[in-house]
Amino acid sequence: MFDALAYETSHEMGFGRALHPLRCGFDLVLGAGQVFPEVNFTLPIMRVDKGNLPEILEQYKEMVSNVLQRLAILQVPGAVIEFEHTPQMTEQVDMGAEITAQIKKLMESYYQRYGLKTALRTTICDIRETERPPKMRTGDVVQRVFESFRMNANNGTDLLSVESTGGKEVNDRALMEASLPGLLLALGVLAPRDMHFLWSQIYNIAQEVKVIAAGDSACAFANTAMILADQRYIPNVVAAVVRAMSAVRSLVAFEEGAVGPSKDCAYEGPVIKAITGYPISMEGKSAACAHFSHLGNIAMAVTDLWSNESVQNVKLLSGFAPEVFTEILAYDCRLMNEALLAGDEQALKKWLVVSDETKSVHALIISPEASHRIARAIVSEKTDFARTRCAGMVACGIIRSAIRENRLSLSEREVAYLNRLEDEFEKYSDAETVLETALPDYEDLFLLSEYGL
């Protein structure tokens, strides 16, 4: 368990530099003074099953070739290619692994021909939630997930990742009810327990096959909350506090041996970097193709990879969408890298932060300063539950200060929820109280034994 920070101040954190740089793939070194694009893409509307595997492979060949070509033309020094499984690609283990092999072969050919330094991240789909209540530890599905990790690693994956979902079944309901006991049960009890189970196994597989256990994302928790808040279904303050709380479950991957880069959609990345010093991946304005966010610039502030999250392979005027977004990422990275070369990175970082920080509570909570404060609170506690609660309380404090200092404007309705969260954090101070309070409302959703309880 991390009990100290990698960076003593948020000022020390920056983009393109990590305390522990990571060598991966074809000679790519992350966090060693440059920011690289992480390009992700997805299939257009089409069926995904073994019956049309040739067509699927053709789509991936086209997407990856186009992306690599544009990277080479723009003289991008390196990139991570992310292949994110659809559920079928993890379920039908051979299918996902075959696509991985094809992508890696293309990357190798560009490395040999143009010296293009790349690494392949494969993100396995957490299909354990297919069943209700989900079988997180037992049964065929979880075995298929691990088999998929192993086969994809054997077929050329450099970086193993997953957007895991342990506790999501409770978190979903708790979000809709804005229930703090429910959120604490999901994020402080269930999710970390599942992360320990899952990532200890992923780490073992990575060691066995000699690839890198990269990192996870709280996408299923905190991004779900952010999107619900954007649609005005739940309060923004709840979503922002959930973001801070969810960093604890994502950190568990690193406690179990992951070394980065964390996933692009893990906006909790700056907290992870502050604690671990490992490289992170982030996404912002260049991921507007995949989803709306308030984090367009600020997400770049301390990142090591800059991603577009996901884009469909559809034709735009200048080419297919994946290569178009590759170009956008390339120019963003070129800007950051030139700032690094000139020693002006703190100036650029400042403007990336200032331009977004007080425009929304979501941006406020992921600023380097706020992330560093949340990180400090996390390492000051000894259990996953206490860390989750403490992260949430500090997030409330950050929001409260910003309101008091007139740096952030929130509606009365939002402030009422902030008041409520602050009161309830005081009330639910230990895991036992939370279990006692929340279990009756949520026990229909999950099996205690599947979380080792």
Binding site: T86, A178, L228
Partner: protein, 212 residues
């Protein structure tokens, strides 16, 4: 004796206990179940719906109101069924085959229930045949299909076709939704409607029923 206005207010504020007490009191005083529903519970929930539309309520407040409404409905239901009073319509909803995302579907379910619909939730990864079977078993008026992935949208088309092949397509209305789904796609696959979010889904469901 309490007024229907008070009952409405208790639904709006999500006071489950008081809604139950008032509903029972009205029944004890000889009020007809349908009158309690039409004059107290439904108008209260209609205000909640309007407040939600006007961004004065979040989902958590709406859910509290829906629970309060249900506390009253639980008392009225057996009596309403005995007098053959039915919900606005029955909706079968599920995430299509190959897809495991369900928060959108759950939101739509909650909103539909709040809007007076009876909702049967088929879960996630529901195959076309399962949709057809469940629709038959439950006698629903509307089938709602949800998908988050471009690669699972095709299962929506398969589901519409499964109803066609079964010969039961004309007995139900089909509405679809999810991040990559569009009105155009709904038209292409022969669905009756598309809703871009949970609130719009309730409006679409009402429109589809009205159109029948």
């Amino acid at each position: 004796m309490a007024s229907y206005s008070e009952l409405q207010q208790c639904v709006i504020s999500g006071d489950k206990t008081r809604v139950k007490e008032l509903t029972q009191a009205f029944l004890d005083n000889g009020k007809l179940p349908k009158e309690i529903l039409d004059e107290g519970l439904i108008p209260g929930m209609a205000v909640v719906g309007k407040k939600f539309e006007a961004c004065e309520f979040f989902i958590p407040e709406m859910l509290l109101s829906a629970r309060a409404l249900n506390a009253g409905l639980d008392l009225l239901k057996p009596l309403l069924e005995a007098s053959d009073v039915k919900p606005i319509a029955k909706v079968l909803i599920g995430t299509v085959q190959g897809d495991i995302h369900d928060i959108g579907k759950n939101l739509v379910s909650a909103m539909l229930r709040g809007g007076g619909f009876e909702v049967i939730d088929a879960g996630v990864g529901v195959s076309p045949d399962q949709f057809v079977e469940l629709a038959k078993e439950t006698g629903v008026d509307i089938v709602g299909l949800s998908a988050l992935l471009t690669t699972t949208m095709t299962a929506m088309k398969d589901t519409v076709q499964a109803f066609e092949s079964d010969g039961s397509r004309n007995k139900i209305k089909i509405m679809i939704g999810g991040a990559p789904v569009t009105t155009k796609y709904a038209e292409e696959i022969g669905a009756d409607g598309y809703a871009r979010n949970a609130s719009a889904a309730v409006e679409m469901a009402k429109k589809l029923i009205g159109a029948r």
